[in-house]
Symmetry: C2
Subunit: 258 residues, 2 copies
DNA sequence: TACACAAATTGTGTATACAGCTATGGCAAA
DNA sequence: TTTGCCATAGCTGTATACACAATTTGTGTA
């Protein structure tokens, strides 16, 4: 019972807790980019012993958020603008693959209507007035649901897995830059265009137009490219995006590592 | 000194040793697909304590070779023909991306000549006589070198990383089915075609034809599709491919799990 | 004041001990 | 003979201890 209660609270095992907690500490900048992650320190800060923390670190390395140090241990990665652009491109390619497979192999009526439901929700949201915090949260949620459903529509666990993986880096993910969009002036315009692409992909899938579906999802991901440029030009908004503290300023020399 | 000597022998830390050893045990069928991997048993068999073995298991899970069991621990994965096809498709897409980026961004003279060197080597190999064991090993090596160099030519560490990842599953990798090809009658023909594709990709990259480069690498990966079909039709050769024991027979019902 | 060297502290990698849980086999009862 | 339950054995997840390595700090000297 106790274990089940704890499971409900924060996700089961110490390892999972450590993973969530560490990710949070990295993305919030509590563990600064480029710096070694000292296991004993994290252990004390979280109240979790070193063993599960170690397991979480391995997973975070596979995820790409941290990198091994030659002399042992890990360090928080810093990402150049070019790397982020590439990560976004990879996501676009993977989601493009998912969309193409969905179109080529066909998807059931149910899956299609889930996708359509997301688009509808977002359309209603955009039509219903100002983009306040609540509506914005709803948008983020619906958008994530659309992208998840699309990965599932590929009909391939292998592909779905890779799509999830491509979304692992926070600033590469589908919702990575939306908070920046919200802050910008033409938020509604961009989101409207994005949702039109959602709708077009669904149409392409329904009509078995694989090439079109793929191209659309690739282009869709490139919205994030434009948002990234915006962030690089206005470093003030960098705090809005998750893991923003991991982004190396475009003019920063690589930090000297002793 | 002792530690450095051991490092030379089999790759450094106990964790690395455990990773290599476990992968070998899985791919050789020593740990049967579908069966739970008992850590104490592996620990005793390898002489490595449970801690590094555990670390290796986590890495193998991220790699996709093993999957977690609900009640704890891991089990060796079994792969259906459909999953293998999808994994090959994913590799094709990722290598296609690498080739496109190489073409779009341009590659240096040096990188280009590395690629050309591989193609030349393979051509010479194919022209030089019977495909004996030695020549065949040289082919495998040169082929791997080509694919590595191509991933590097993308100019993006992020992309390179994903390509490597897509090649992690042994039967999805570029050299996964070559031994099958060697056994088949028209080995020379297939390898000749494959190398023509290599050459064409280089040409496309040199001429900055991104779309062509991408399409070529996708098609190139599909050679593995044909080889897979061949294997499924001739289960006798399944022992030739690494990790063949992980392939579920096409007509096999899922093995009963008690 | 700067630099080199030594000592101490800190941290990783690994082994091991232990608690809780799962699964399996046997035993009893119907 | 079959079915249900209980006990036992084994395994996982976690904590902790320890050795070796690295880094940092402090000290002495040029």
């Amino acid at each position: 019972m106790t274990s089940k209660a704890r499971q409900g609270e924060d996700g089961g095992s110490q390892t999972v807790r450590a993973l969530l907690r560490l990710r949070e500490m990295i993305l919030s900048g509590q563990l600064p980019a480029g710096e070694r992650i000292a296991e004993p320190a994290v252990a004390e800060a979280t109240g979790i012993s070193r063993t599960p923390i170690r397991a979480a670190l391995i997973r975070l390395q596979e995820e790409g958020l941290i990198e091994p140090i030659r002399s042992g241990g890990f360090r928080v990665r810093a990402f150049s603008a070019a790397e982020i652009r590439d990560a976004i491109e990879v996501r676009g390619v993977m989601e493009g693959l998912a969309a193409r497979l969905a179109a080529e192999r066909g998807v059931g009526r149910a899956a299609l209507s889930v996708l359509q439901g997301c688009v509808r929700e977002i359309d209603d949201l955009l039509a219903s007035g100002e983009l306040d915090e609540a509506r914005f949260a709803a948008y983020v949620e619906a958008n994530a649901r659309f992208h998840d459903a699309l990965a599932g529509a590929s009909g391939s666990e292998v592909v779905q897995r890779q799509v999830v993986r491509a979304n692992a880096l926070p600033f590469a993910s589908a919702n990575g830059f939306v908070r920046v969009q919200a802050a910008s002036a033409d938020a509604r315009r961009t989101l409207t265009i994005a949702n039109a692409q959602h709708a077009a992909v669904i149409e392409a899938i329904a009509q078995r137009e694989g090439g079109r579906a793929e191209a659309l999802m690739r282009e869709h991901a490139r919205i994030a490219h434009r948002n990234l440029e915006h962030v690089l030009d206005n470093p003030a908004v960098i705090g809005l995006i998750p893991g923003g503290c991991l982004i190396q300023g475009p003019r920063d020399a690589a930090p000297v590592r002793k």
